[in-house]
Subunit: 327 residues, 2 copies
DNA sequence: ACATTTATGTCAACGGGTTGACATATGAAA
DNA sequence: TTTCATATGTCAACCCGTTGACATAAATGT
């Protein structure tokens, strides 16, 4: 059986209270006793039971993280940074890959609530407006509007979208297509699309938008992308709202015998380390992932620690254009 | 304040015990009562406190996951599958990105123990031989030897390494270089190197091995790789033990004016979805990531549920060669 | 010599839910 | 009528660590 405080106390020849005092640095303890207790803990391989502590303290020091999937390099890297920062600050991370499925998201939310998480970072679907703010729980969203009271952190999507569209425009592209995810609701990431549309309109062009249903199935992605070539054979510029879409498009372009950037210029979005390594030639809009993570956690922790002074409703971190050779 | 069982009981006009019986399906409950209780729970937005449950049951239903970093697409995808399978089986996942740092790994291990996890999946450094088996905790390793008693799950590294080396060999390569991570200890992934060396020796060649220190810094990777060109200008075949290394090499080859596969053939390892999307031309050895995840969890859960019948010490899942155009 | 500070002990309540023991009461089957 | 399965209640102990109240005693200060 796992040793408990009582076992440590017995071995150290002190009372359980004293052991607790040692662990929590409360009251008076002599160096001698402290040492005895610590020796006993080592000898028994004792670790305090955080479940019991959490119960009493009503504080789990756990943060829930809900996002589509760590398979996507953007979220993989984001997850890494978020978890790292949490660990640094003494928080633990319960991971949830919701795959943007509403039912999963709901189940995960309930799971996190049952587990008494101190806060949640949400980087996924946004329908749960009701559920998220119903509990009065610290929540921060990444690139999602969940409700008026939930702070949002993300890159400056509109600026990024503008940069991308204008780069293609100034590169002389005549037929610029946008490849985006499915656009159900008003997310900040949607501003990439809005920026594209605005640039197009400003230049007297009609936006051409293709929506890719699933992030997780290469097959169906290819099909949508393939349609671009039949429906817009004159396409000579593509802005993809993430690097994976951009890569898929480039692959498809090759299959159609089109040269990038000779015949078609392509620019992506995200600029993950992974994409930069695997496809360094890709021109893309790089999000400051580490800063997004840091900012989100900072705001969340302030909320948790009860710093109720208004946190900024929306934080837009600057993006950078990474010039490869594809645009 | 969060509602508790007592509040539900009051609202439903029953006793706390009855509420507990409803939640746990124990004893006799009439449909009528069950409904009253459920209505009360909904009305109050009640969720049972899993911390309290865990404390009593001595079972947290939490699995700890320690791996280098979810930034790496292999671990990102592995994490996704592991977490998904866990969720399916009612387990939650506490995520730890150890960056292969021993001190971090130790802190994480302690954290997981304090949190009373039911089991741990380890996909990281392996030094902690002592610590992992000291506690009698369910542990399964992914591609790491931790101790004789800890099951290991991974791809058939030796077979994969052999396939890769032989492909280059049969492609007529004369000077075949291996790019590997740092090789401190005897990990199964090290078998990729062993297979390469064996193939080389079998063909009367001396193995040429380059070790890349950090997985996480593109800069220093490039430096090591660059050395290959000065030290072995006649290199015409490269086996990289992961796709990121392969990509880095290919980038560097371009900078050195070498054509792939014309002048140098390259083959990687892992075959993640991400790499396949971003660099579909890369020839690689594809690991069955989903199966690795499934197998690891299956074994772990059996251990947790006390199915003490020997689990296989080592499981080697078959790899597939994915022929791109780089080799 | 007396007041403080330091050091430790005992004890009980608490956090929220679970469970076994036991009591009670109805309706149905024998 | 008796028995039994069904249905619910009360109560207390338990999971493990924390904390406040209170007691005791030695060491230190004045």
């Amino acid at each position: 059986m796992k040793p408990k405080i009582e076992d440590v106390a017995k071995l150290a020849g002190v009372s359980p209270t004293t052991v607790s005092r040692v662990m929590n640095n409360r009251g008076y303890i002599s160096d001698e006793t402290r040492e005895k207790v610590q020796n006993a803990m080592n000898e028994l391989n004792y670790f305090p039971n955080d479940v019991a502590r959490s119960l009493f303290n009503k504080r789990s020091n756990i943060i829930g993280l809900i996002l589509p999937t760590t398979s996507n390099p953007f979220f993989g890297e984001l997850t890494f940074h978020l978890e790292n920062i949490c660990a640094e600050m003494g928080y633990k991370v319960l991971l949830c890959n919701s795959l943007n499925a509403i039912d999963k998201e709901e189940k995960y939310l309930e799971m996190l609530l049952r587990n008494q998480v101190d806060g949640i970072i949400v980087g996924t679907h946004n329908r749960g407006i009701l559920d998220y703010h119903k509990q009065n729980l610290a929540v921060v969203a990444i690139d999602r509007y969940l409700s008026e009271t939930i702070p949002v952190v993300g890159s400056d999507n509109y600026e990024g979208g503008t940069m991308a569209a204008e780069l293609l425009m100034s590169g002389g592209c005549q037929c610029i297509v946008l490849i985006d995810g499915i656009g159900e609701l008003e997310t900040p990431a949607r501003l990439r699309r809005k920026a594209y549309s605005d640039v197009m309109k400003r230049n007297g062009r009609a936006p051409i938008i293709y929506e890719i249903p699933e992030v997780f199935d290469r097959q169906s992605q290819q099909e949508v992308i393939s349609r671009i070539f039949s429906e817009h054979p004159d396409v000579d510029g593509v802005f993809a709202t993430n690097d994976l879409f951009a890569a898929s498009f480039i692959n498809e372009a090759k299959r159609h015998g089109k040269e990038v950037p000779g015949e078609i210029k392509v620019i992506g979005y995200d600029g993950t380390e992974t994409a930069q390594t695997l496809m360094p030639e890709l021109t893309t809009i790089k999000q400051p992932i580490a800063r997004i993570a840091r900012t989100a956690i900072d705001i969340l922790v302030k909320k948790i620690e009860g710093d109720m002074k208004e946190s900024p409703q929306e934080t837009r971190l600057p993006v950078k254009i990474v010039k490869g050779t594809t645009a």
